[in-house]
Symmetry: C2
Amino acid sequence: MTTSFSLAVVGGDGIGPEVTAQALAVLDVVAPAHGLSFATTDYDLGARRYHATGETLPDSVLEEIRGHDAILLGAVGDPSVPSGVLERGLLLKLRFALDHYVNLRPSKLYSGVATPLGDHVTSRGDIDFVVVREGTEGPYVGNGGAIRVGTPHELATEVSINTAFGVERVVRDAFARAQARPRKKLTLVHKNNVLVHAGHLWTRTVDAVATEFPEVSVDYLHVDAATIFLVTDPARFDVIVTDNLFGDILTDLAAAITGGIGLAASGNVNPDGTAPSMFEPVHGSAPDIAGQSKADPTAAILSGGMLLDHLGFPEAAAQITAAVEADITERSSTPRSTEEVGEAIASRVAGGVPVG
Amino acid sequence: MTTSFSLAVVGGDGIGPEVTAQALAVLDVVAPAHGLSFATTDYDLGARRYHATGETLPDSVLEEIRGHDAILLGAVGDPSVPSGVLERGLLLKLRFALDHYVNLRPSKLYSGVATPLGDHVTSRGDIDFVVVREGTEGPYVGNGGAIRVGTPHELATEVSINTAFGVERVVRDAFARAQARPRKKLTLVHKNNVLVHAGHLWTRTVDAVATEFPEVSVDYLHVDAATIFLVTDPARFDVIVTDNLFGDILTDLAAAITGGIGLAASGNVNPDGTAPSMFEPVHGSAPDIAGQSKADPTAAILSGGMLLDHLGFPEAAAQITAAVEADITERSSTPRSTEEVGEAIASRVAGGVPVG
Ligand SMILES: CC(C)[C@H](C(=O)O)[C@@H](O)C(=O)O
Ligand SMILES: CC(C)[C@H](C(=O)O)[C@@H](O)C(=O)O
């Protein structure tokens, strides 16, 4: 018996399509052994379409995408498009419209991977944590505006919106994840000594939900202090729950200390299943190296693994993670093309020897 | 001839008074040779006063403080006071009321200082940059609120307010600082692909002011990417200009990579001189080690140096920096008390041999 899933594929801009192609190739290799198959629909969205038609994400396309079981996304953003147009009009529109309220970003330092941190830091313990970043609220809501633009009297606002409903559901999800991990530890990161209204909502919510998870130990860090610990004692973290903007910042830093954004995967998850979840590398479109087969597809491939896990195939996901881990650990310093990395990981998944 | 300056001293909470005492002692040692003297007024503000009277910063006290030439602040915040009360009611009230629009935070990795970064990163070049953090706008304005607090329908907002007036003055200050430095490089950090209204105001302002400083080279980083570069290539930075919240986050990370917040000084500067500027260590009140003579007063002492520089005594300031640098470089691993560190730096300033 084969279970077939429909995947909406949004390669997007820059290196997005290249790395997504490798992620799909690896998915196709892992699928059969688990009785899985994928039917993909490609969506031409991003800078090219914007220039051709002025569209970022037409409603009809959004509705088509919604009909799929999951979404695989490459990267969004191009210097030829004003900053924010594609990010807000395409990437964030997908996250918000499809209610991706859990933006899941695991960070793990694999052995042998280069990190900017010194040995005295990395030897303090295993770096293996996950950031549960809220995905549908906070300063990302796009609520704000400007008056008298371009004059000396310009005033621009950005409004962070936070609701008990929105905070509680992501906090509960984060507690459940902490509960399921060996260390059972949750750290709330916010800035509740300055952003008192939103911060206290987060703090009170964590305190309340904590009573349902008595085995989970909880602490709190201001976002500024959290960045310090991420570089001085990252092993202290297990599950971090935080708001949309703080999560954006912390996960880039987390990626940096665990080998770079070339390795960092993410899932924009709708845990309620009311719309498809979306999986994408944390890195951007890297227009400077686009089309040169220089991009590392590892993060995209790992995102494919997260997609499998989300669809209910943890063993298949683990196969991808193991193949990536082996590939990373045994990487030589000889540069490989995007395709070579993809093929090497694919053949490890297939049980073969590394190619290229 | 002696020039006398009046200093308002706000030791504040936790380790604040201890470290401030050492900063004052060092100022007193350096002063005479430069024809300087200080008359200090102590202000009892912080948790103790809040518990005793319910006050954080009465208007009459604010007006008294305003009458001084400069302010030396220790630290604000105590676990016995709800998070935000002292921060917003005292520290931020001072910064906003006294129009400290340039929050100046230098970061320098002195030789011999322990950093979490590996040699392969620190050997890429000298880490020596300054963050010009906007101090009177952004998400720190305290504009926001909450309705239905404590119910499942709670909604909390935080509004970031940004004006052309406020952004331009800090950007111009940052350009002038970049112009005066050997590398003449300015990096704007924001998140203009998401916070498009505020972000584009910042971007356009930097572009406009750049025409007045043709020798300064300018680049832009999203805040998430900036955290990556701070740990992978911090030597790339010279002057960073950024908003209030991003500046808060980046400067803690900057402090972490250059030896920790025990060494990080800051100035809340009113460049127009319409009110006294305020100098304080970047670290917090560290209530867990308060009263135990364990706090490192170096950051407070360096903040005293920034105060001297601001008052127009760069040589006196340089004497403090040099004494601190010598002390840091020659530190042994034997722990010293707050007083011992202060005395060691003071006697280096006095030209004597290190004490303790
Ligand atoms: C491209 C950008 C809008 C996005 C974000 O800020 O969320 C990216 O930085 C990320 O972390 O996925
Ligand atoms: C204590 C707090 C309000 C303050 C800030 O957020 O500005 C501190 O973190 C700082 O950086 O000076």
